[in-house]
Subunit: 348 residues, 2 copies
């Protein structure tokens, strides 16, 4: 899922996202709550209509941004008081208000309100945080069930209803992750996310936690790994059984001139590309690689031209989506042949 | 002609420019000379190949930017010494080096090196400046004729050769403009530009100078008014007989949220658009008006989203190009019916 924080994948028009084959976008509840505001989006018919995006949308619960972007936050049993990173104004998110916000935004998949445990944390802290997330999960579900029929977007997108996913926490502790998974399943959701990773821990530890948590999640429900990852990682995690992922990496890296190609990563700002007439990635069929040279992309980046961000983002998204198409293709072949379903792309 | 200062119309991919019906782009020699440099563009096959733009390109001579952007410039008979606005480094443009630069960039239409007379200026200063521009026009033509066969871009675009246009100066003085036009025609060019306007003078004076200068320019050669104007002005000047215009207004205004519509100008940043589901311009067929609401465009602008610049620019260019299509249509009807050839668009 490409990330469209403020109801826009930065720099890329929606018709190009459709052309790239994006099936689902992620929007950030925290950001949309601040701008343009949930009421505004609700009045305008929900996110789909507001941003003119007819395909699927997932919103996060706002919990992660509250924990990572704001200072002066205060967590109580009831919820989180925090200050806006925009103007310092004070706000409050609870499981109930986070559900109201996401129901109002009208995404197809919405997320339970959780506490993202910081890293590192001791076992006592990890357990307390996990227990809080479980209590918030119950409250999220209860409030969602009571209010889900208020979704204002059904007429526009014509699909059934919103789905609420649960989130497994438990820090880096395998036992706590197991317990969190089992008790979240007990509450019961149509899909399960693994949260609280990619928060500064070493990569092998991330993989270990994902692998052990997956053992306890049902295979007949979507399993969503939040905030991951590099092209290699998304292949690796898909291979382990993850069905959904989101990450700002392809879009954020593009804005910094870091481009993913079938021949490895390229930093387009480097002077060695200034005279290079070759396309960014000779194996890529995207609009950018079909038309422009590395020399031109390097010039745009070096000259601070906005088109650099547009073209770089289109390419990186194309690369990620191609990667996931290859993953799906391998899975479908694997099902027929019984062979290991996914191979990593060749490295340069 | 949309302005693509640094070989990019800020924020808009070339395929969308093609789709909008852009026939010719303007590039700025001064900017391209500094970044990525003429030699770089020449080695890469000229501007067309460099920026992957198969349609026509015009480059200005660099004179206007030297006069408007740089401090510490020194004008002598030989040329202009100036400091880069980027790093303060010292450079020199003469008629000969400006021709070399434009031949190297490889545009289809290139411009003689001129001095843009400041406003206001007394008659003595206007005459001296006009005389200098005439001497530079002769040197420009001589150097161009001797070196025009060095164009490196012919193979790529497959057209004949570069054309060098002369520029009429003479400040705001009708007599000097007449003399400048006659003596520039004597030197002989395949097209003539009216320069030195839109430099701070009142609009009625601009119109007066354009109208009186046009009387002295041949009707069987393109007549190009530089740096103009609003949608109303381009219709007005086309009606007077101007064949070509360029202006940063549609693209620059778009970046500041100022949008041109069939119902008048709109400042999309205004709060009154925040809840407006209507398209920007109900009479516009562009991608933006067909898909997005004013509420969404206002949100993108207010949230500093890069997509605001992209979409706003696409719409403003579409509006300008539609305006010029209407002008051409009226001209072709006028030829058949003998009626006045161009009508202004209805105003709100």
């Amino acid at each position: 899922m490409p990330v469209g924080t403020l109801a826009s994948v930065k720099g890329v028009p929606q018709d190009i996202l459709e052309e790239l084959g994006v099936q689902i976008l992620l929007g950030n509840t925290y950001h949309l709550y601040l701008r343009p505001g949930v009421e505004q989006v609700r009045k305008l018919g929900g996110l789909h209509r507001f941003m003119a995006w007819p395909r699927a949308i997932l919103t996060d619960s706002g919990g992660f941004q509250v924990f990572s972007l704001t200072d002066l936050r205060k967590v109580t049993e009831e919820g989180v008081t925090f200050r806006s990173h925009l103007d310092g104004s004070t706000h409050f998110f609870s499981p109930e208000s986070a559900m109201d916000a996401q129901i109002g935004l009208g995404a197809d998949i919405i997320m339970a309100f959780d506490e993202c445990t910081e890293y590192p944390a001791d076992r006592e802290r990890m357990r307390a945080s996990m227990e809080l997330t479980l209590r918030w999960a119950e409250r999220s579900k209860k409030h969602f069930e009571e209010h889900k029929n208020e979704v204002p977007w059904r007429n526009y997108v014509g699909t059934a209803a919103q789905s609420l996913f649960g989130i497994v926490q438990g820090g880096m502790d395998r036992q706590l992750r197991k317990e969190s998974a089992e008790r979240t399943i007990e509450i019961g959701f149509p899909g399960y996310a693994i949260g609280g990773l990619s928060v500064g821990e070493p990569r092998p530890l991330t993989r270990e936690v994902v692998e052990s948590t997956l053992e306890h999640l049902p295979t007949d429900k979507p399993r969503y790994l939040m905030g991951v990852g590099t092209p290699e990682e998304i292949v690796e995690y898909a291979n382990l059984g993850i069905d959904m992922m989101d990450c700002v990496l392809p879009t954020r890296a593009a804005r910094h001139g870091l481009l993913f190609t079938s021949e490895g990563k390229i930093s387009i700002k480097q002077a060695r590309h200034a005279g290079d007439e070759a396309p960014l990635d000779p194996n890529c069929g995207c609009r950018v690689c079909q038309r422009y040279s590395r020399a031109y992309l390097r010039h745009l980046y070096a000259s601070n031209e906005v088109l650099a961000q547009v073209l770089n983002t289109v390419h990186n998204l194309s690369f990620y989506l191609d990667t996931m198409r290859a993953v799906r293709h391998s899975i479908s072949l694997g099902k027929e042949t019984g062979s290991p379903c996914v191979q990593s792309r060749p490295k340069p």
